[in-house]
């Protein structure tokens, strides 16, 4: 933390930082104080340093101008000031694994479909987005399901629902400097992605099919490189292989569904063979192989479910998973897997990990900056620091208390959720019109979702 260094210069130093950022993000920032807002007297959880007891957060345009204690940060004259004494301000929560938007990518025709994009399937009007905002979430990694070895490309979204909200998926994409939408690649192993042919029937076959495709992609890429841009020598474009090449180049992070300890190790093995950057998702038995995961320096996005089981490979799921992984030195985030758990109580996942002994600061990071790192977006989101996106939530109290309510959620300097607005409160509380009429498409449960398990 370098807060103390620049804070002495009031708002001047951060402005320099902002200027350097303009080119990168391509957003014009207002430079005048009248367009800034300061929240004062809050308990601020920055996720980038110690909690600030009486803090000030100044936002200018889409970005954070300054954050610090009231002793250190002076609110410039003319800046609109909001007293939020007794409230908490936390970074907008980052969910590394969500299925909101009524999504579907790969279909039932094949187990490996890396060229299919989830962004072509998302309904931005689905109420799940509003419920996510009601939980203080501001960034989602929207993923296809786990019923395939490779079910397609994921997409990173910002919940830009202020005002009239988004019209199309384009309005909520997170883009790179070249304007390309950012996202990862969803993979899965274990039982969900097994099935009747052409799906694999065993773990050995699952790994083989994946290796075969990555080797093909490697050869494909070698041809592309060898062609040196000569159109006559280039192989025919293959969207599926291109996607795998992007994964091997580190341009596309692999988000890998995996539960059982041996499946987790298989992911590490494949990741090492093909050099793809990977985040382990769910990791129900991560606590059994925490040392191995730590040694591989692979982060884990953990799911927290109220009880173990539901399937064989999740029977040893436990609230202590986050603690054990963290203590072993593994970077830990949590995720909602919404619809599996409800985004409105995302804080609960971390709170239950705290219940099982996880360090509170690390649990806070696991809802914010750690998730941002797992999406490769830590330079833009996940903590409250100057020049970062002004994504934050104002809470009525302790992030880990059941009684705490999300009062407001701000995305890039815009208020996207306000509990005092009845239209927003509907999604926070539920009620007529708040839900979604379709049952979620998950992976492999079809009609049994409600009547489930009938013989």
């Amino acid at each position: 933390m370098h807060r103390r260094h620049w804070l002495g210069l009031a708002a001047i130093a951060p402005m320099v930082a902002l200027e350097s950022r303009i080119a990168r993000i391509g957003v014009a920032l207002p430079s005048n104080a009248a367009e800034s807002t300061a929240w004062v007297n809050a308990r601020i959880v920055t996720a980038a340093g110690p909690v600030i007891e009486r803090g000030v957060l100044i936002v200018q345009g889409r970005s954070i101008l300054a954050v610090g204690s009231s002793d250190q940060v002076q609110v410039p004259a003319g800046v609109k000031t909001i007293d939020v004494a007794g409230k908490w301000i936390v970074p907008g929560l980052v969910c590394t694994h969500s299925h909101v938007g009524g999504v579907g990518a790969a279909d039932g025709s094949a187990p490996i479909q890396p060229g299919v994009r989830i962004l072509d399937s998302i309904n931005v009007k689905e109420s799940g987005f509003k419920r996510a905002l009601a939980g203080g979430l501001t960034t989602l990694n929207i993923m296809p399901g786990s019923g395939h070895l490779i079910s397609g490309q994921t997409v990173y979204c910002k919940l830009r629902y202020a005002g009239r909200g988004p019209s199309t998926i384009d309005d909520i994409l997170i883009r790179d400097a070249d304007g390309q939408p950012l996202g990862g690649l969803k993979m899965a192993n274990g039982t969900n992605s097994q099935g009747d042919a052409p799906f694999p029937g065993t773990r050995g076959k699952s790994a083989f099919l994946v290796r075969e495709q990555y080797i093909k992609a490697r050869e494909y890429h070698a041809k592309v490189v060898a062609a040196k841009g000569d159109a006559d020598k280039l192989p025919p474009r293959d969207l599926h292989l291109e996607s795998l090449v992007e994964a091997m180049q580190g341009k596309r992070i692999v988000h890998h569904h995996t539960h059982r300890h041996d499946d987790i190790i298989t992911v590490l093995r494949l990741s090492q063979e093909f050099g793809f950057r990977v985040v382990l998702h769910h990791v129900s038995e991560g606590w059994k192989v925490a040392k191995e995961i730590a040694a591989a320096k692979v982060p884990c996005s953990v799911i927290v479910i109220d009880s173990p089981g539901g399937k064989l490979e999740a029977r040893d799921m436990t609230f202590k998973n986050g603690r054990v992984l963290d203590e072993a030195g593994v970077r830990v985030a949590f995720h909602t897997d919404d619809w599996i758990t409800d985004s409105r109580v995302f804080n609960r996942s971390a709170a239950l990990a705290v219940r099982a002994g996880m360090n509170r600061d690390r649990a806070i990071e696991a809802l914010t900056i750690a998730g941002a790192e797992m999406l490769g977006l830590e330079h833009r989101i996940g903590s409250l620091a100057p020049a970062k996106d002004a994504d934050f939530a104002i809470l009525s109290g302790d992030l880990f208390s059941v009684y705490t309510r999300v009062l407001e959620t701000w995305v890039e300097g815009q208020k996207a959720f306000d509990l005092s607005d009845p239209d927003d409160a509907l999604y926070a509380e539920g009620g007529q019109g708040a839900g979604f009429e379709l049952n979620p498409y998950l992976c492999c449960f079809g009609q049994s979702w409600q009547s489930g398990g009938a013989k």
Binding site: S307, L312, L438
Partner: protein
């Protein structure tokens, strides 16, 4: 101290005598082993005032005295537990735990028999696995009693039972067998293609037809019983057939287990638990109850908030959906405020874990009540909704649901506010026996 039974009374005084006067009772050692004392900084009795720095004395599985530490004698040699907060053992008003197993595979899934839409004859006692891991799991959070059984998903899926969350067999765990018959009025209990029921109208028609059949069966049984009674007493009108009759005419009516289960419903011995989420299905459930004069328990009831006055007027209690149930499908209009709204309307309700087809394979009512408490329900009402309220609905409040002298020694111990996310259940007492709290 008010004593519940002579037996308990005698044994307790025996213990006290053994301790204070060194008088040797034959089974004194055994009795001492059965004496458990729970000290709590805050004891929520639920039925009465909370007690600060209180003591609960349990002998032979029953609560024998409660009071402030200063006023209650602690028997020497008793096992003493201490906790920050003590509440009555929690009661899950509707679950499928013990029938729907942790692995969710054929081997451990006995909650739903899909071979026919109407099977009220299926007993939970024949399916409940007392050693199911998830029973132990929910006990670790303080759940000591479960009303569990056949799941929603068929028009009539079978019966329920009430069990304590201990015991190696269903017989050891059992409190009441056959408490309710479970019906589901929903899309999830409809069939596709040319099978029935395929529509809501057909569902109601099938339910009504079967109940009508049960009414007629009951009439036949009653007539036969009357006839048998007449013969036994021998003072009825003369009949030529009298001497040719068999001793019990009732036996001449072939037993029909399906209809027997519904006769029990008609007689008020069993409730008809109806799972319904859509307002129109809730209305159908109430209509059915009124037509046949039967006791309905409304289950799940995601859209109860649309029909509060109607539900109140019908005098029907609600076994309320888990607060965190998913807002999709027939529950798309569910609200976190359901419990608060029912409370405000004065409708009796209890929060259930319900049934989950996938995950969480079992929900924990403590967690569901906690989230209700964050959405308009008072903490006290939240605790009541998983203790005394379900006990009253289920008809077991003489045994469980509150910390009162004479009731079963079922207690849940916590190291803080039981509803708070970061609090732990540090121990559980069922019928005076100690069990571990949640594993960490």
């Amino acid at each position: 101290m008010r004593m519940q039974t002579n037996r308990t009374n005698r044994k307790k005084w025996c213990v006290l005598a053994a301790l204070s006067l060194a008088f040797t009772c034959v089974d004194a050692q055994w009795l001492i082993a059965e004496t458990v004392v729970v000290k709590g900084k805050h004891i929520h009795t639920v039925s009465g005032k909370s007690i600060e720095n209180g003591v609960i004395v349990c002998v032979d599985g029953k609560i024998v005295s409660i009071g402030e530490a200063a006023g209650v004698a602690i028997p020497e040699g008793a096992k003493v537990l201490e906790a920050e907060v003590v509440v009555p053992g929690l009661i899950d008003v509707r679950s499928s735990v013990g029938l729907s197993g942790i692995l969710n595979v054929d081997h451990d899934s006995d909650h739903l028999e899909a071979s026919a839409p109407l099977q009220p004859e299926l007993r939970a006692i024949d399916a409940y696995n007392a050693r199911e891991e998830l029973v132990e799991y929910v006990r670790g959070f303080g759940v000591t009693t479960v009303h569990t059984g056949h799941a929603p998903g068929e028009l009539i899926s079978g019966q329920t039972l009430i069990a304590k969350t201990h015991g190696g067999t269903v017989e050891e765990a059992l409190l009441i067998d056959g408490r309710a018959v479970c019906a589901t009025i929903a899309e999830s209990s409809q069939k596709s293609g040319k099978q029935s029921p395929g529509t809501r109208g057909k569902q109601m028609s099938m339910l009504r037809s079967l109940l009508v059949e049960a009414v007629e069966y009951r009439t036949k049984l009653a007539k036969a019983a009357e006839k048998a009674q007449t013969k036994t007493t021998g003072d009825a009108e003369p009949s030529d057939e009298k001497n040719e009759s068999k001793p019990a005419d009732a036996a001449e009516i072939a037993r029909n287990l399906k209809l027997e289960a519904l006769v029990a419903v008609l007689d008020g011995k069993k409730a008809l638990l109806i799972t319904a989420d859509r307002a129109q299905d809730i209305a159908s459930a109430l209509r059915l109850g009124e037509e046949f004069g039967i006791r309905i328990w409304l289950d799940s009831a995601a859209e109860a908030h649309q029909l509060l006055p109607q539900i109140k007027k019908a005098g029907v209690p609600v076994l309320l959906h888990p607060t965190m149930a998913r807002a999709s499908g027939e529950r798309e209009n569910i609200t976190f405020r359901s419990a608060a709204l029912l409370k405000e309307e004065g409708i009796p309700f209890a929060i259930e874990s319900g049934f989950e087809a996938y995950v969480p394979k079992v929900r924990v009512v403590l967690f569901e009540a906690a989230v209700a408490a964050a959405h308009g329900l008072s903490k006290e009402s939240a605790l009541e909704s998983i203790t005394l309220a379900p006990a009253k609905i289920l008809g077991i409040s003489d045994r469980v649901g509150s910390i009162e002298v004479g009731k079963d020694a079922d207690l849940a111990l916590y190291d803080g506010d039981p509803l708070e996310y970061t609090t732990h259940c540090v121990g559980v007492v069922i019928d005076g026996k100690l069990f571990a709290g949640e594993s960490r």
